[in-house]
Subunit: 188 residues, 2 copies
DNA sequence: CGTCGCATGTAACCAGTTACATGATTAA
DNA sequence: TTAATCATGTAACTGGTTACATGCGACG
């Protein structure tokens, strides 16, 4: 599942420019399981246009480059369905932070606290942000096409919440244990 | 944080061959936040040897290629500490499954069930496997160098458990809602 | 006066994946 | 007999990241 397919997915939810697509990857409902920078999105969009899966309508703007708004067409929609019918690749998760914390005994408690606090803040912000863009309508009337987004949104929040809880409840203990172990070492 | 650094990390916990390192990425304590296949590990190991960060002792074996066991040396350890002192890159998580579930309204309930059940099984297996290789000693005596691994291990289990719980508790509802929405559509 | 947000793109680079090459042993 | 485990490696590919290029408006 490459950037091209991901773009198809974003466009299936509504027309957008390359710039807006990237925002979806960063902040929007796709942010916790997809990624892509300008350097991959713009070429992908050009490729999809050349392949006839999306249409582009140029909108002239004052003192700015033309805004190119892309819209999924029927062939593009079929291509998306095709990707959806494929067996999914395994999730991939990579974390520098966990790698570092794995070697907690080689870090000072101060640095550990810094690293963990930064991540706690990150999760708190992320959760706040997600609470403010829940995909279900305020009146509770879920439309058929918000079922998936709502499910995925809830999944993301659960996982982030679990991560946050873990860090909050185990941080002090880790700091403590590491400090004691290092004092013991120094005393030897 | 590239494969070279990750290999350094694995070797800091004990000598290993390329083959064994890959197993650590797949099953071992590094499996939930690091990855790498043979095609990246072997070149990385050769590079680290050339750079003088690890030492290699060849062990002849019957009817098999020589087993090359690598060991971290002082320079390699310093390099690891250097990497640990760097600001960590953001976590990256990519999930085909979540992307697919996002478009639940375009999938049949049968396929949704298949996808979700497969993932439920995955998390159950993973959690079982993790329970059987907890980094704390059975007697509860944590050594200083198991503090980090134990913390990271606990983190991973919490997050997997949260993901599993979510899928288990919300699966039926999603299937139901999607089926109803699709029936309504067909009736129109 | 700086930097963030808007807005698009290219080119070089690089890291990692995939496929290939080899081959014995053991369990299903 | 088929697949998995052990065991190492190379070469081609591919995909995405990074850095560069351009430029105005708004906010602090």
């Amino acid at each position: 599942m490459d950037v091209k397919t991901t773009c198809l997915g974003v466009l299936a939810k509504g027309e957008a420019s390359g710039y807006e697509i990237r925002k979806h990857f960063e902040d929007g409902p796709f942010s916790h399981f997809a990624e892509g920078g300008f350097g991959s999105i713009y070429p992908a969009l050009n490729r999809l246009t050349a392949d006839g899966l999306i249409d582009c309508s140029q909108q002239a703007q004052d003192k700015r480059p033309d805004k190119k708004v892309y819209r999924l067409n029927d062939r593009g929609f079929d291509a998306l369905l095709g990707a959806l019918a494929q067996p999914p690749a395994e999730d991939r998760y990579k974390s520098d932070l966990l790698f570092m914390l794995f070697f907690a005994d080689h870090l000072t408690p101060a640095r550990l606290a810094l690293l963990i606090d930064a991540r706690i803040d990150f999760y708190r912000d992320k959760l706040d942000q997600m609470r403010n863009c829940a995909p279900t309508e305020p009146d509770g009337n879920a439309t058929s096409d918000s079922l998936g987004p709502a499910f995925v949104h809830g999944f993301g929040m659960s996982v982030y919440q679990a991560a946050l809880n873990y860090l909050e409840t185990h941080k002090a203990r880790l700091l403590d244990d590491v400090a004691r172990a290092q004092n013991a070492d120094a005393a030897e």
